[in-house]
């Protein structure tokens, strides 16, 4: 491995370059497209030379699309807002409920705890529609269909198990001795949890929260089934946008860029946590 020949180094370089090209090119191309007008997009043969324009983003921000057939009103910003609301609140609720529960699972072996853990584990890979389609009928009966609360509730099906698994693993890796000592010194259970356990599991909680946010943001099927146009996040909204806007390709590209930018930025900013969370979630889950 250390005595790589020159030929081998060149082959390695080519392989890495090909790989980067394959995985980066789609993102790069969509980004370029989002700064072009329809005329330059439709040029044949395609060319990298164009005068960049922000008109696509401006059209999305104002929600008014000028097309050949007239002006269309498409409120893509509402989808973006929905994505933020759904992801942020889902993760907040999941952390608030999931971290103490993960602590309970890690520290106390009580009756039923294994049953709950097993049920969550075995349904972690159940088809999402199996749960969501019957829920859709129930939600219509109890008036939760097409509400943020109903959607955030359903998002717990992905966020809460994820946080439970990853954070439980972190709590289990921490020795409980410090907590016992702190308890003996006369501190309450809650103080022990807040001052000792939480800070020690901090990186795990961050990793789990980030992953849960990205999974929630990228979720497609829940809102497709349970939300109507004004509650749908970008994943569903972008598809509807394609249908509604017809051939406004520059604006479609801009909508895709705005939709994937938050998760990609998070990935770059916190890649260490993400890799750790993914590996741990997979290995321990």
């Amino acid at each position: 491995m250390d005595h790589a020949s020159r030929l081998e180094r060149i082959l390695r370089g080519i392989a890495i370059a090909a790989m980067v090209l394959f995985f980066m090119f789609p993102i790069f191309w969509i980004l370029l497209m989002s700064f072009q007008t329809n005329e330059t997009i439709l040029r044949n043969p395609p060319s990298m030379a164009f005068a960049p324009t922000l008109s696509n983003y401006a059209a999305l921000l104002t929600g008014r699309l000028d097309t050949a057939a007239g002006t269309l009103d498409i409120d893509f910003m509402q989808n973006l807002k929905n994505s933020v609301i759904l992801s942020v609140f889902s993760v907040a609720v999941a952390l608030l409920l999931g971290v103490p529960a993960a602590y309970a699972f890690a520290r106390h072996k009580f009756r039923g705890s294994e049953d709950i853990a097993f049920t969550l584990l075995s349904f972690r890979f159940a088809p999402p529609l199996l749960v969501v389609l019957p829920l859709a009928l129930y939600f219509q009966d109890i008036g939760l269909a097409d509400t943020y609360i109903g959607l955030i509730w359903v998002y717990q099906l992905i966020c809460l198990p994820l946080i439970l698994w990853i954070v439980r693993g972190y709590f289990e890796d921490i020795s409980p001795d410090v907590e016992y000592a702190y308890r003996i010194a006369g501190h309450s259970w809650f103080a022990t949890f807040r001052r000792i356990a939480l800070p020690l599991a901090g990186p795990g909680i961050a990793a789990a929260g980030l992953l849960a946010f990205i999974f929630a943001w990228n979720n497609f099927v829940f809102a497709l089934v349970l939300g109507s146009a004004d509650k749908q996040p970008v994943t569903v909204g972008a598809l509807a946008f394609v249908t509604a806007s017809g051939i406004q390709y520059g604006q479609i590209a801009a909508a895709v860029v705005l939709s994937i930018a938050p998760t990609l930025a998070l990935a770059i900013y916190a890649q260490r946590y993400l890799v750790e969370g993914l590996s741990l979630g997979a290995v321990k889950g």
Partner: protein, 308 residues
Amino acid sequence: MAVTADIDGAARRRFRIGTRALPYLLSLPALLVCIGILIPFFTAVYYSLQRYRLSQPWAREMNWGETYWQLLTDPSFWNTLQVSLAYTFFAVGLQLVLGLGIALLLQERTRLNNVVSIMLLLPLMTAPALAALMWKLMTNPNFGILSYFVTLLGVEDFRWASSPETALMTVVLVDVWVYTPFIMILLLAGLRSLPRQPFEAAALDGVPRSFVFLRITLPMLMPYILTAVLFRLLEAIQQFDIIYAMTQGGPGNTLMVFQVEAYLNFFQSTNVARSAALLLILWAITFAISNVFIKNWLRLRERARGEI
């Protein structure tokens, strides 16, 4: 030592007694999620045993498994099974080969390798539905860059996802783009955590590298490979986002995988019973796969530990 053990034991007891109800209280949300999953699950079982169409509520009655029988004698069900399995096989197979290759390429912790592995994280963080949309734009016959490249190669009228011959290949390509990094990340973590001694010993003895790879690297990496493949198999056989966003199961029923078929049965033909039966069969398949894998995984892990 005895003293510490005593204190520890006392602390443990006090810790428990003071908080007997607490663990139950804390795990309540997890319990609620469990109930939130189990109620729809059994509801689906109940629906699947009925004749139940949303458009014909008056005809709703128990028919005890007739729906399943109708499914099994319907060629479209076997098409669904076949397409799902083909999609899973090609997608996961390609991802494993590519993911393993890339992990081996990036194994050393150099600055370049770290930057490249961050870049590879990006497709995985892209929502699969949006990834499908991106590839749909790239394969658009009028301006898609990939369509253009294909014409440069001399192939006329290559229609990607709109042609029955190439539709499966196109969605598999998107799946490979999104999920290869997942396998790569797990295997890279595995490779970097392997003990160094066997490799150093092999290098000292001048063992050929193909032998090192087949007899040392691969067996020691096997638990990681199995974990990664298990995750991918279970997700791929349930794939919905990419296929629905790309073609909604078309052209014709070329890409009618389980969840897309179930979704369309529910919302287009409002056949709730058939949709529920399809999803339960899919659930049984995933359950079987995960059981087989978990057993093998445990055995392999034990063997890996015993040998070293």
